[in-house]
C-alpha cells in the first residue's frame, strides 16, 4: 500500500527527525511543502495556484482558493491554520532547541495529515498519477495474493 501513497517523496522526508539547527527555516520549509500539496490539488483541477497571501500566509490563500466551489475541501482548513500556528510557535521559541524540535515534529505530523487528506481526495477524484497505481495493489488485497495482508482482513 505504501508504494501507492500520494506525495511519496514528501512523506519520506517527513519521516526524518528535524535537525537541531535553524528551526525557523525548517518550519518555513514545512509550510512551503504544504503549499506544494495544495498547489498540486489546484493544478489537478486546472487552476493556477495563487501567489497571494491571507493573513500573511500563502498557504491560507491557497486553501481558500482550493475550497472555492468545493466545500468539502474545508475539512483541511483547520489543518492549514494549525500548520501556520505551529510555524509561529517555532518562531517564538526558536532559541529553545528542545521545544522548537518538539513543535517541528508536530508540524511535520500535521503536514503529513494534509498530504494524506489531499492525496486521498485526489485519488477519489481520480486525479494524480498515483491513483491508477493503487488499483493493482487493492486487487491483490481482495484476491488475497501472497504478501497481501489485506486478503486476511
Amino acid at each position: 500500500m505504501t508504494a501507492a501513497m500520494p506525495f511519496p517523496a514528501l512523506l519520506a522526508r517527513l519521516d526524518r527527525a528535524p535537525r537541531a539547527d535553524r528551526p525557523l527555516a525548517q518550519a518555513d520549509a514545512l509550510l512551503a511543502e504544504a503549499e506544494t500539496v495544495l498547489a498540486t490539488w489546484l493544478r489537478a483541477h486546472g487552476k493556477r495556484p495563487t501567489r497571494a497571501a491571507v493573513e500573511g500566509f500563502r498557504l491560507l490563500a491557497l486553501h481558500r482558493q482550493g475550497a472555492r466551489g468545493d466545500p468539502s475541501f474545508n475539512a483541511c482548513r483547520e489543518t492549514c491554520r494549525e500548520l501556520v500556528y505551529l510555524r509561529n510557535v517555532v518562531a517564538q521559541r526558536r532559541d529553545d532547541a528542545t521545544e522548537a524540535g518538539r513543535v517541528l515534529r508536530l508540524q511535520a505530523m500535521v503536514l503529513r495529515h494534509l498530504a494524506l487528506f489531499v492525496g486521498g481526495k485526489l485519488e477519489n477524484a481520480r486525479l494524480g498519477e498515483f491513483c491508477c497505481a493503487s488499483r493493482p495493489l487493492r486487487a491483490q488485497e481482495t484476491e488475497g495474493r501472497p504478501g497481501a495482508a489485506g486478503g486476511q482482513d
Binding site: 483541511c76 495529515h113 486521498g120 485519488e123 493503487s134 489485506g150
Partner: protein, 307 residues
C-alpha cells in the same frame, strides 16, 4: 434559547443503536448519575446522514426537521444529539429553514403530505452531548461529583470534523471567552480536565479521519487514522477521547488494519469521552460499555485504577 438543560429531548440517531451502542449506554448512564433526564424523541427517524444529503439536500433538511418537530410537540425547546453527524444535520436543518426559502417550502410540503406539523426555525435548539454536560452540569459541579479521578491519564481530545464544520451552521460558536472554538475546540478538554484527566496538546483535534471512506476506500482511511494515532502517541497520549461514533469506530477499526496491513502498531487506547467521565463518576467499565468497544483498554484503565 435553551434554559433548564436538566431535562432535554434525546436524539440518539441510528449509529448509537448499532456500532455506537457504547456511546449511547455511557451517555445515558452519565446523565443518570448526574441527575439529568433524557427523554428520547418519539418515533424519530434518520437525520438524513450522507446518503440522503447527497441525493437531495432539501430532503435531508426535511428528515432532520421532522425530528425537531416531534421534539417540539413533546414540549421541548432543546434536543441533544451525541453523534457528530446527527448534531451537524439537525443544526444544518435549523440553518436552512432560517435562511433558505426553498428548504422551507419543501419542508412545509412534505410535512403536510406526511400529516404532521412542519417545523419552523427558532423553536428547538440542537446541542451536542458535550454542550449538554458543559451547560447542564459544568466543570465545577462535575469536579465536585468525581469519585474516581482520571488523574494521571494523558488524553488527546479528538473532536472530528463535523462538530465544528461548516462554521456558519454553529452561530453560537466562536463568540469569545466561554464559547466553543471551531478552530481549536476545547469543551471536551474542559470536561475531562474537570474529571482529572491530563489533556495533551493535540494538533489534529478536528482533522479528517476519512470516516466517509472507511469502508469504500479503506486505504485512505487507514493512513489518515494511523497519522491521528501516531500523532496522539507522539504528543504523549495514552487515550484518545472521542465524541463521534463514526470517528470512534474508524479509529478502532483502522488501528487494527494499520497493524495488519502496514505493520504499524499503535498502543494508544480509544474511548468515548462519556465513558471516561462515567468512570470518573464511579461507574464501572462495564456500566459505560467499555467491553463493547472493539479495542481493549483494560490494561491502561486498570493501571490508573479505573473501571
Amino acid at each position: 434559547m435553551a434554559g433548564d438543560l436538566k431535562k432535554v429531548a434525546y436524539y440518539p440517531g441510528c449509529v448509537l443503536e448499532g456500532t455506537g451502542h457504547a456511546y449511547n449506554r455511557s451517555t445515558k448512564e452519565v446523565g443518570k448519575v448526574l441527575g439529568l433526564d433524557l427523554v428520547e424523541v418519539k418515533n424519530w427517524n434518520c437525520c438524513g446522514a450522507m446518503e440522503v444529503k447527497n441525493t437531495d439536500p432539501k430532503l435531508q433538511t426535511y428528515l432532520s426537521a421532522r425530528n425537531l418537530s416531534i421534539a417540539q410537540g413533546m414540549g421541548f425547546d432543546t434536543v441533544m444529539a451525541p453523534c457528530n453527524g446527527c448534531y451537524h444535520n439537525l443544526k444544518k436543518a435549523e440553518y436552512d429553514l432560517k435562511n433558505d426559502p426553498a428548504s422551507v417550502e419543501m419542508n412545509e410540503r412534505v410535512s403536510t403530505k406526511a400529516g404532521h406539523p412542519a417545523y419552523r426555525a427558532g423553536k428547538v435548539e440542537t446541542i451536542h452531548a458535550i454542550d449538554w454536560l458543559k451547560r447542564a452540569v459544568g466543570e465545577e459541579e462535575l469536579a465536585r461529583r468525581v469519585t474516581n479521578s482520571l488523574k494521571g491519564l494523558k488524553v488527546a481530545n479528538y473532536y472530528g470534523c463535523m462538530y465544528t464544520r461548516p462554521r456558519h451552521i454553529f452561530p453560537e460558536k466562536d463568540k469569545g471567552p466561554g464559547s466553543e472554538s471551531t478552530l481549536r475546540p476545547h469543551f471536551m478538554d474542559d470536561l475531562l480536565a474537570a474529571a482529572g484527566a491530563e489533556n495533551v496538546e493535540y494538533p489534529l483535534k478536528t482533522a479528517c479521519c476519512g470516516g466517509a471512506h472507511a469502508l469504500s476506500d479503506c486505504d485512505t482511511s487507514t493512513t489518515l487514522v494511523l497519522n491521528l494515532l501516531e500523532t496522539a502517541e507522539a504528543c504523549g497520549a495514552e487515550v484518545i477521547a472521542t465524541n463521534c461514533p463514526t470517528c470512534h469506530t474508524g479509529l478502532e477499526m483502522h488501528q487494527v488494519r494499520a497493524d495488519k496491513v502496514l505493520g504499524r502498531k499503535t498502543r494508544v487506547r480509544i474511548l468515548y469521552f462519556t465513558q471516561l467521565i462515567g468512570m470518573a463518576l464511579g461507574l464501572s467499565a462495564r456500566k459505560v460499555g467499555v467491553p463493547e468497544n472493539m479495542s481493549d483498554p483494560s490494561d491502561v484503565l486498570q493501571a490508573k485504577g479505573l473501571g
